[in-house]
C-alpha cells in the first residue's frame, strides 16, 4: 500500500479549476518533487492534502485512511506535516516555544515534548537561538524553524512548500543536505520547488502540474526531457 494516494482530485474556485483530476502516489521513503509553472495548482494540492481545503471531487488516502473532510490538526495528528510558502511562525514566541508546539502533537508528556523539541533544535542548528523570539530571526532561520516545528510533530510525510525560496546558494546546499538527512530518518517528502538544481538532485521522482493537471510523472531525467513539460515552462516564459 502506498503511503499517500491521490485519485482524481479536483478543486475549483468559482469557474477556475485549480486542481483538475490529479492522480498520483507516494511510497514510503521517497522524495518526490512537485513542480510546475506558477498557478499550476501545487500549493492548492498541498492545502487539499493537509486539510486546509476540501476537494470538490476525488480521494486522498494516507496509509489507507481518507483525509477528506479532516481538519488540519487531525491530518497533522495522522502523520502529515507541512510548511508554508510564506513562513508562518509564532512571532512573539521563542524559537524553542515554536518547536515545542509541534512537539506536543505526539509527545505523551510535557517533558517528553520538551526533550524532543530541544533535540530537534540541536539537529537543525537552532539551539543557540532557542530563546530568540521568532520575529527576530533571519529569513533563513525562520525557514529552518518552520521545518523544525513541522518535524517536531513527528510526521511520516512532510510537505515542503518552496523552502529554498530566498536562500543564497550556500544556504540552498545546506537545505539539500538537511532534506536528505530528514529522509534518512524515515520521513517521506513531497517537495514543491522552483530551484531546479535542488529538485533535480533531491527527487527520486518528479510530478509536473500545469493548469491543475498532471502532465508528467517520472524520474528527473525523463521529466526534464518531456516535451510537454518543456512547452509548459517555455510557454509560461513566452507569455510573461
Amino acid at each position: 500500500m502506498s503511503l499517500l494516494e491521490v485519485r482524481r482530485l479536483t478543486k475549483s474556485f468559482g469557474g477556475l479549476k485549480a486542481v483538475a483530476g490529479v492522480d498520483f502516489r507516494l511510497d514510503k521513503g521517497e522524495i518526490v518533487g512537485l513542480i510546475g509553472p506558477n498557478g499550476a495548482g501545487k500549493t492548492t494540492l498541498f492545502n487539499l492534502i493537509s486539510g486546509y481545503l476540501t476537494p470538490d471531487a476525488g480521494e486522498i488516502y494516507f496509509r489507507g485512511v481518507s483525509l477528506i473532510r479532516q481538519k488540519p490538526h487531525e491530518v497533522c495528528h495522522l502523520g502529515v506535516a507541512r510548511t508554508f510558502q510564506i513562513v508562518q511562525p509564532f512571532p512573539n514566541l521563542t524559537t524553542f516555544e515554536n518547536v515545542m508546539v509541534g512537539a506536543l502533537n505526539r509527545a505523551s508528556s510535557f517533558e517528553e515534548g520538551r526533550a524532543l523539541a530541544l533535540e530537534i533544535l540541536k539537529s537543525m542548528k537552532l539551539f543557540e537561538k532557542r530563546q530568540v523570539l521568532a520575529k527576530n530571526l533571519t529569513i533563513s532561520d525562520r525557514k529552518r524553524l518552520e521545518m523544525a516545528r513541522a518535524l517536531a510533530t513527528q510526521p511520516d510525510l512532510l510537505l515542503l512548500d518552496e523552502v529554498m525560496a530566498g536562500l543564497n546558494p550556500s544556504e540552498v546546499e545546506e537545505m539539500i543536505r538537511l532534506i536528505q538527512r530528514i529522509r534518512k530518518q524515515g520521513v517521506t517528502l513531497l517537495i514543491i520547488e522552483h530551484v531546479l538544481k535542488a529538485i533535480m538532485s533531491l527527487s527520486d521522482r518528479i510530478v509536473v502540474l500545469h493548469h491543475g493537471e498532471k502532465i508528467a510523472d517520472g524520474s528527473p531525467e525523463i521529466v526534464s526531457r518531456d516535451t510537454g513539460v518543456i512547452e509548459a515552462y517555455l510557454g509560461d516564459l513566452l507569455l510573461s
Binding site: Y52, R106, F110
Partner: protein
C-alpha cells in the same frame, strides 16, 4: 530576584490590614478585585488572544445567581457561587461554540461577546423576577456562613485568596500544553492548526476556565457591596475596565493584570475622591484617559512586561 519580590510582596499584602486604616483597605480590595477579574480575562484574552468585551456577562451571572438563590431560598453564597460559576461556564460554552463554529475571530469575536453581554443585561433589566432595573439588595446578615462580614478585613483576605488562586492557575497554564497551545492560537491560528493544535477545542477550554473564575468574582462583589443592578454588573463599562487593566499591565503575562490594576484602579478611585468638588467632576476621566493613551503610545507591550524586561536587563548586567 523575581522570587524575592514575589515573596516580599506577598508578605506585605498579607500583613497590610494590620497596619492601615479602613479606607486604605477599601482601596486595596478594589485593586485586588479588579486584578482578579483582569487575571481571569487574561486567560482568554491574553494567553489565547481572543479579546472579549463581554466578560461582564460571566461576572453578572455569578453575582445574580448566588444573590437570587440566597434571597429566594436562603442558600449560602458559599455553595451557590459554584452554581453561578457553572452557569457562566455554560453561557461561555454556548457563546464560544456559536462563534468558533462559524469561524468568528478577532474583531468579530469581540463584537459577539459584547452582543451576548448586552443581551444578558437587557434580559435581566426587563425581568422583574431577576430584580429588574432596581436591582437586588442583599439583606444584611453579617453571618460568615452566609458570606457576609461586618468588617472589611475578611473580604480583603478572601479577594487576596482569589487573586492567589488566579495567579496560581495562570502560572500552571503557562507551563503546560494548554498554555503553549493557547499562545500558538493567539500568534498564528492557521499555523497552529497545521502543527496539530485543535484550535476550537482549546479556545473553548480558555472560555470555560475564564468564565468560571470570573463568575466567582461576581459572587464576591455581590457579598461585598450587597447590591447589584444590570448596568453595573453586566454593563459594557465593566467589561472595558476588566480588559484595559490586563492590556495596560501586559496582556498574556502572569503579572500583567495585577500590575495594570495597581496602576489604573488607584488612579480612578483617588481621582474620583479628590476631584469631585467645584466643577472638576470630569477631571478624573480626563486623567484616566490620558494615562491610558500614554501607556498605549509608549509602552504598548504593557507596563508589567516593561518592568520585567528592565529587571532581566538589570540581572544580565550584574
Amino acid at each position: 530576584m523575581g522570587y524575592l519580590l514575589t515573596g516580599l510582596g506577598s508578605v506585605v499584602l498579607i500583613a497590610l490590614p494590620l497596619f492601615v486604616g479602613s479606607y486604605f483597605v477599601t482601596i486595596l480590595i478594589s485593586i485586588l478585585y479588579y486584578a482578579y477579574l483582569s487575571g481571569c480575562w487574561n486567560i482568554l484574552g491574553g494567553y489565547a488572544g481572543q479579546l472579549s468585551l463581554g466578560h461582564a456577562a460571566f461576572f453578572g451571572i455569578g453575582a445574580y445567581t448566588s444573590s437570587l438563590l440566597f434571597m429566594k431560598w436562603q442558600i449560602s453564597p458559599w455553595l451557590s457561587m459554584w452554581v453561578g460559576a457553572l452557569l457562566a461556564m455554560c453561557f461561555g460554552l454556548f457563546m464560544g461554540s456559536l462563534s468558533f463554529r462559524f469561524g468568528l475571530r478577532g474583531f468579530y469575536f469581540v463584537l459577539v461577546t459584547w452582543a451576548f453581554a448586552e443581551l444578558l443585561r437587557l434580559i435581566t433589566l426587563s425581568l422583574d423576577v431577576l430584580g429588574g432595573p432596581t436591582g437586588i439588595f442583599i439583606s444584611y446578615k453579617t453571618s460568615p456562613w452566609q458570606f457576609q462580614f461586618s468588617s472589611k478585613v475578611p473580604y480583603y483576605y478572601i479577594i487576596l485568596g482569589l487573586v492567589a488562586l488566579e495567579l496560581f492557575i495562570s502560572y500552571k497554564i503557562e507551563g503546560s500544553k494548554l498554555g503553549f497551545y493557547l499562545k500558538a492560537i493567539r500568534e498564528n491560528e492557521l499555523a497552529a492548526e497545521g502543527s496539530g493544535v485543535p484550535t476550537t477545542r482549546y479556545k473553548l477550554m480558555a472560555v470555560v476556565i475564564s468564565a468560571f473564575l470570573t463568575a466567582l468574582g461576581g459572587t464576591f462583589y455581590a457579598q461585598y457591596l450587597r447590591y447589584m443592578d444590570p448596568e453595573t454588573t453586566m454593563g459594557v463599562s465593566l467589561s472595558v475596565e476588566i480588559m484595559i487593566r490586563a492590556m495596560v499591565g501586559g496582556s498574556g503575562t502572569l503579572i500583567g493584570p495585577f500590575v495594570g490594576s495597581f496602576i489604573l484602579t488607584p488612579l480612578s478611585e483617588l481621582s474620583r475622591t479628590y476631584f469631585t468638588k467645584g466643577g472638576l467632576e470630569g477631571l478624573p476621566l480626563i486623567i484616566y484617559g490620558s494615562v491610558l493613551i500614554l501607556i498605549v503610545l509608549f509602552l504598548p507591550q504593557g507596563v508589567g512586561t516593561w518592568m520585567m524586561e528592565k529587571l532581566a536587563g538589570y540581572r544580565n548586567k550584574s
